[in-house]
Symmetry: C2
Subunit: 477 residues, 2 copies
């Protein structure tokens, strides 16, 4: 093993981020943006497999924690949607309406779910009779629709959104709180595998889920210095249960409203991975979810071609039988250089080059996508080598993104200091007027206070009140 060559990969300059992002999502073959409806893109095979790998991981976690998978209808009748006032206020402006079928005007317009509370909760009322039916823990993975008025962007700001949503009902407020903690643990495990370090922030009152009690937003930091929400975990208390009359009979025969929570994620996870880990050569995929974890590239000239191809095929079989997702790029009409380019653009974690030297030495040359360095390994213990390299890559990707996140959190004592594209930690007394004042004066959002709480010694940035919490102020992606 030895370093042969160092190719430094440049991070994307945040000035060109947007242009770069829009380009790599297509060049890496994740998506096609040429579908003729704004904000609705095509998942190409590579992109859909990436998303499905993320979904499978989530699904496994959900099942391990006692959630069951369901599928509710897409269309919601207007009257069911209108039962919870804050919810309508929050989503009313961004729903799509089906008003006609064939040549008939519908009596009751149907809306395309922006999220499924109002589809599910009328039925929860029928599913839940007594405390024996609780907790109810379900989830689904579906398409949801939001009429986004801002500029749309692949994966992160779409009008048709691939969505994960878990909904739970509990007997008591304490059990619902425990569910929030379970969700945060699930998120933490997932974010390790997706290499997405984040802040878990309890949102402000004016930024919480419409109709809920409080929201924990899970935010990752993009190279632009803006926070991107990658998950939302919501405590509803009994707000929806009261609107939809979801009650259970307790052991004393009393009817009580259930306590509810939800946990939502979406294709934004893909957008965050691209944005945070990509570089000038393309995207970089975390090994755990990469559709292709290893690509073998035969460098074949002259007489040894057959032998090299056979050697590559054996490597592939060996890795495949260990459950590693591997392919060979043995196209005859492409030069190695353009094969390297493609493997890099698509973010394939590990590349194995095999030429005459490797054949002779019974070795491989391995290149990790995040480093670009070449290392030579013996083919003895190949599976272990590859597994170890993937593990190291996952840890390094996470760690680097984490360093970037914490390096970009800056304490601010004065509004005048808030000028850069960073995350500012400020004091906030918790008052709505003060908060909105700070947001306006800085043209940033208060993303919230850390869910687990935090010691902080400064007064409110607006009113100076010493009884202030640490709040995180940043632009939102």
């Amino acid at each position: 093993m030895g370093n042969k060559e160092k190719e430094p990969y440049e991070k994307v300059d945040s000035q060109y981020y947007s242009e770069w992002y829009n380009e790599v999502v297509e060049k890496s073959e994740l998506t096609d943006k040429r579908y003729p409806v704004k904000g609705m893109n095509i998942w190409k095979p590579y992109g859909w497999e990436l998303m499905s790998n993320i979904d499978s991981r989530t699904e496994k976690q959900m099942r391990e924690t006692g959630h069951q998978k369901v599928k509710f209808p897409l269309l919601i009748p207007e009257d069911e949607f209108q039962k919870e006032a804050d919810h309508i206020k929050g989503f009313g402006d961004e729903v799509y309406w089906v008003t006609r079928a064939g040549s008939n005007e519908l009596d009751i317009p149907l809306l395309l779910r922006p999220t499924s509370e109002t589809a599910m909760y009328p039925v929860f009322d029928l599913w839940i009779r007594s405390h024996a039916d609780l907790p109810l823990k379900i989830f689904q993975m579906v398409n949801v629709f939001r009429y986004e008025t801002k500029q749309t962007r692949a994966f992160t700001r779409m009008r048709e959104i691939h969505f994960f949503e878990a909904h739970t009902c509990h007997e008591t407020a304490e059990e619902a709180e425990e569910q929030i903690k379970e969700d945060l643990e699930i998120m933490e495990q997932l974010s390790k595998k997706l290499c997405l370090p984040n802040l878990e922030l309890k949102r402000t009152e004016w930024d919480k889920f419409p109709g809920g009690e409080y929201t924990v937003g899970v935010d990752s930091l993009l190279p632009t210095g803006r926070l991107l929400q990658i998950a939302g975990i919501h405590q509803y208390k009994t707000n929806f249960a009261e609107a939809y009359d979801i009650t259970y009979e307790d052991e004393e025969g009393e009817h009580r409203p259930v306590h509810q929570t939800t946990y939502g994620m979406s294709a934004r996870l893909v957008g965050a991975i691209i944005g945070i880990h990509g570089d000038e050569k393309g995207i970089v995929l975390p090994p755990a979810i990469a559709p292709i974890q290893v690509r073998i590239i035969p460098i074949t000239y002259g007489d040894e071609e057959d032998e090299i191809l056979k050697y590559c095929a054996d490597l592939k079989e060996n890795l495949e039988s260990a459950g590693i997702r591997v392919d060979i790029d043995d196209r005859e009409d492409e030069r190695p250089g353009s094969k390297f380019y493609e493997a890099e653009m698509k973010g394939i974690p590990l590349r194995i080059d095999v030429g005459s030297n490797e054949l002779e030495d019974e070795s491989i040359t391995l290149v990790r996508r995040d480093e670009g360095e070449k290392r030579e390994y013996s083919i003895e213990g190949l599976v272990e080598t590859i597994e170890k390299e993937m593990e190291n890559m996952e840890e390094d990707m996470y760690r680097k993104a984490e360093e970037f996140l914490y390096d970009n959190i800056v304490d601010a004592e004065d509004i005048a200091d808030i000028t850069e594209e960073k995350v500012y930690r400020i004091g906030w007394c918790g008052d709505r007027e003060c908060g909105q004042n700070i947001e306006e004066r800085t043209d940033r959002h208060i993303l919230g206070t850390l869910y687990e709480g935090e010691e902080f010694e400064r007064g409110c940035l607006n009113c100076g009140d010493e009884n202030a919490d640490a709040a995180y102020l940043c632009k939102k992606e």
Copy 2:
């Protein structure tokens, strides 16, 4: 091993079929029909897992035959939908229209896909440049929408439909024909596993896929004597390619339209399984796709309870480690009788009863859901026993349904003979007027002629022309 007791399971009387069907789909916990929009039901966990098991099997077959999985948007702009005239004529009356978003009227109304030709084909034009891009073979599993005006029914006649659709593009007509044959092979393999014997019928001109060249309908026979279409395989030739301008450059540099095919299936597969195999005790699921393949029921009274539960847990672990989907119904507040009832209603293929006798003999009592007979087996070689029983059950279920199908195909020489709820094999000259005349006079549909062709010696049922093919006449579910 010996027969202890025989519980004959009654097939459902076709007179009560509808009532029975509507009841078991809910009692078996596959679906909840109480969602407040007609024709849109909720997939409960058990039902969704069953559907997902079918999907996984289909997906595996698709990948093995070189298809790639994609996901296209749900909403289609009106102008794209209107490019193929027959297609609009066929689907126009049954599409849902989105006309409004938030408070804005949309400039171009969007329709909810009834199928995805008109979503995909405008983009195929961009994906396909030269012969090197062909064949293009993709598939997706999505929700589609059809404004069904007839009485709706769970799984078989819905307004929101869980749908599988494969779309292919080829250089030549011959290659497209080969694709049709590949699809039929895939279907045949799948129908063995789903225990759904069927007829592959080339539909009449007036019953083919709107916009296509010809359609092969795959029909299974329900106990009511009606045929239910469970799959459609369509040859489009260049019809859509011309409407959507999908051309490729051949090796001589000529631009030619591609030849296209599609293959569609849906949640109807679930409906067919319920209808064909269910009995008075509930549904009966084919082992290959059953969410729970084996349920262990401890019969515990008195002192041996702990030992019996331990014995059951060991059995479960043993079967699980062999990849068999197994659970234990160890609820303390339910009597064995009601546990048997539930296992039967849900169609769990194999039941293992364990009581004092089994514990003492180191045996199990096994009950196959389709037979209801009890058999005692040693726990030696348990995994092999279970695998063999599942294999036998699959074969028996297929064979019985196949016998039922062929027993119910009757040759008819005269319109007056056509009175029963059966499949009539008749002569038909192929003329449209004759065919529609026969349909009207018998109040039945000509489902088509066998795709692989068939020798037949009778004249046309309507005009007497001796140059007639065997056509299948039946009511459609």
